[in-house]
């Protein structure tokens, strides 16, 4: 449905998107994950014919975005990060305007507007001025605009940015329900978001695609590297010696005194192993109080670091076991 080949966008000397290639099958939900400034918005703007690319090609539903922009735009529903809305218009009037410029025939307009309002749960605000709506409602008006013409492709730039947790859940549910009949690309910088909504993830950093996989595989690859935090009552020295002997521990860093006689450690586990039971048994078995044991969430930055370094480490295999055997220590 969407095919992007070697897409590059330069602003003067700065390269915002650098040779990005990916494709999306019909009915698939693709997550576009990356930190701010990674080139997600630029890529999406090229796909929606808002910006021309410097190099490379992009095709949507078989139409080239440079050669046949009108055909592409007819098949795409798009919301930018801040939904473009007219604050002095009422919701229904705004959607009516959109239905006209989207070329929906006159007899279908009312029905399609009602459907979009229904799906995005805007019924109680349909006659309110957009300028008076909260951020969450505005986001939904943007979404209603995008799905109005029932396009083949939906491109959603950070659809949950700035929403409260309840609205985020609702929006994710809505997006999931739209998958299947629509092909969706959604961008985000939040990892759990792609885990729950997307069938496939493209991770982009500094304009380049650094990984492309299913969310399950990605989390699998990342799981082993997820560090654990252990908090136990006792002395740093003995606990350190105790924890480093637990099989599977490849890295251990004392994190200092957590107060009330409790010391904290960060533990790196072998890839793919959940060491929490072993660690708990070891600490309690040695007569210490186990106060806390948790998995440390990885920030996106760490994930990128992880992905980029593991990819390069694959080639340099001999070095990897050497570092794994000797626990890395680090004075806090």
């Amino acid at each position: 449905m969407i095919e992007v080949v070697n897409l590059t966008k330069r602003y003067g000397r700065h390269t915002a998107v650098d040779g990005v290639s990916f494709s999306v099958q019909k009915g698939e939900i693709l997550g576009f994950l990356g930190p701010n400034g990674a080139g997600k918005t630029t890529t999406m703007r090229i796909l929606t014919c808002y910006l021309p690319a410097t190099e490379g090609t992009a095709r949507v539903a078989g139409f080239d975005v440079f050669e046949q922009p009108l055909e592409v735009k007819r098949r795409i529903g798009y919301i930018p990060e801040t939904p473009p809305l007219y604050p002095d218009m009422e919701v229904a009037d705004f959607l009516s305007f959109c239905s006209k410029i989207k070329g929906i025939p006159g007899k279908d307009r009312r029905r399609k507007i009602d459907e979009a309002i229904e799906k995005t749960r805007l019924v109680d605000v349909r006659n309110k001025h957009i300028g008076k709506l909260s951020k969450g409602y505005r986001q939904r008006v943007g979404l209603a605009q995008a799905i109005l013409a029932n396009p083949d492709v939906l491109i959603l730039d950070e659809p949950t940015a700035g929403l409260d947790p309840k609205q985020i859940l609702e929006t994710r549910e809505l997006i999931k329900s739209l998958g299947g009949e629509h092909t969706i690309i959604l961008s985000t910088h939040i990892l759990p978001e792609v885990e729950v909504t997307c069938g496939r993830v493209v991770i982009i950093n500094k304009g380049k695609v650094v990984a492309e996989d299913t969310p399950e595989n990605l989390t699998q690859r990342l799981r082993g590297s997820g560090a654990l935090r252990v908090e136990a009552r006792g002395e740093t020295g003995p606990l350190f010696d105790l924890l480093r002997t637990v099989p599977g521990v490849i890295g251990l860093r004392p994190k200092g005194d957590a107060g009330d006689g409790v010391v904290a450690f960060e533990v790196d586990a072998e890839a793919g192993r959940d060491l929490r039971p072993e660690l708990a048994r070891a600490v309690v078995g040695a007569g210490h109080d186990l106060v806390g044991l948790s998995r440390l969430g990885m920030s996106l930055e760490e994930i990128f670091l992880q992905i980029t370094t593991t990819d390069s480490a694959d080639g340099a295999a001999p070095e990897a076991p050497a570092t794994a055997e000797a626990p890395a220590t680090e004075a806090s």
């Binding site: 929606t48 014919c49 808002y50 910006l51 021309p52 009108l70 735009k73 007819r74 795409i76 798009y78 930018p80 801040t82 473009p84 809305l85 007219y86 604050p87 002095d88 218009m89 009037d93 305007f97 959109c98 006209k100 410029i101 989207k102 070329g103 605009q145």
Partner: protein, 262 residues
């Protein structure tokens, strides 16, 4: 067919904006008030002068022309008023879309830049035409109370002149609005540009060289002269239409190029 629908959708949206805010009502009030006032002043002066002439020459002198004494000064005064009014019609057309980010909505929907530019131009020109139409009420007493009603043709050509002249300024104002995201800046720049176009006419001098005459030819006000006297010359109509077309072309090029440079 679809392009017509797209243009009319933009026109409708712009009219919603004009009439959804005080701007349309304020401009309508100012315009019709000044139109009425200038008409009244010119007409009183005409009555006074014709009474004086009638008294002196017992009605034997050359007939005083209503066109010369009333319509011409009225339309020319309104042309000056338009210099102030039109920037307020055009300044937000594109500047506001850029500031709100809604230009992205227009550019990612199946619309061409030309359809957007034309829609906005017709919306502003339509409102300007509506303002002229409303102020025509002033002429009604002439037909109701005059013993021999005046000829309607000079009024029609005058209105056409004002409309064509307004359309030219609106085209230029639309272009200037594409250059900035600040509508105040767009308004001020448009006003300056209109003044510059007005002053071009002052270069008109039959004895001057070809360059100066060419510059004077570009003056938007000079081409109204004949029409406000009731003389319709195709040359002037073509001038205004091509002037508007050029302004709109610049606007379209500007909208398109900003995407390439963005």
């Amino acid at each position: 067919m679809s392009s017509l629908r797209n243009v009319s959708a933009i026109v409708e949206k712009e009219w919603r904006h004009y009439f959804g805010s005080p701007i349309a009502y304020v401009l309508l009030f100012v315009w019709t008030f000044l139109f009425g006032r200038f008409f009244q002043v010119a007409f009183e002066y005409f009555l006074l002068a014709s009474a004086r002439q009638g008294g002196m020459e017992m009605g034997m002198g050359p007939k005083m022309s209503l066109n010369e004494w009333v319509l011409r000064p009225l339309f020319q005064n309104m042309a000056v008023v338009a210099l102030f009014v039109i920037p307020m019609l055009t300044m937000r057309l594109f500047a506001e879309e850029k500031r709100q980010g809604t230009i992205e909505l227009l550019s990612t929907n199946p619309l061409t830049d030309w359809q957007v530019v034309l829609g906005k131009f017709f919306a502003a020109t339509g409102l300007f035409g509506f303002m002229i139409l409303v102020s025509l009420v002033n002429f009604v007493p002439l037909w109701v109370y005059a013993t021999t009603p005046p000829d309607w043709k000079p009024v029609a050509t005058g209105v056409l002149a004002l409309l064509l002249y307004g359309a030219s300024l609106i085209a230029v104002g639309t272009f200037i609005s594409t250059l900035t995201r600040n509508q105040i800046v767009a308004g001020i720049l448009s006003f300056c540009a209109f003044l510059a176009l007005l002053t071009l006419g002052w270069a008109d001098d039959p004895a001057a060289g070809p360059l100066q005459q060419a510059i004077a030819y570009l003056s938007v006000t000079a081409h109204m002269e004949d029409m406000t006297k009731g003389v319709l010359d195709l040359k002037d109509v073509v001038f205004y239409l091509s002037f508007s077309g050029f302004g709109l072309f610049l606007a379209q090029q500007s909208v398109e190029s900003q995407r390439w440079r963005a």
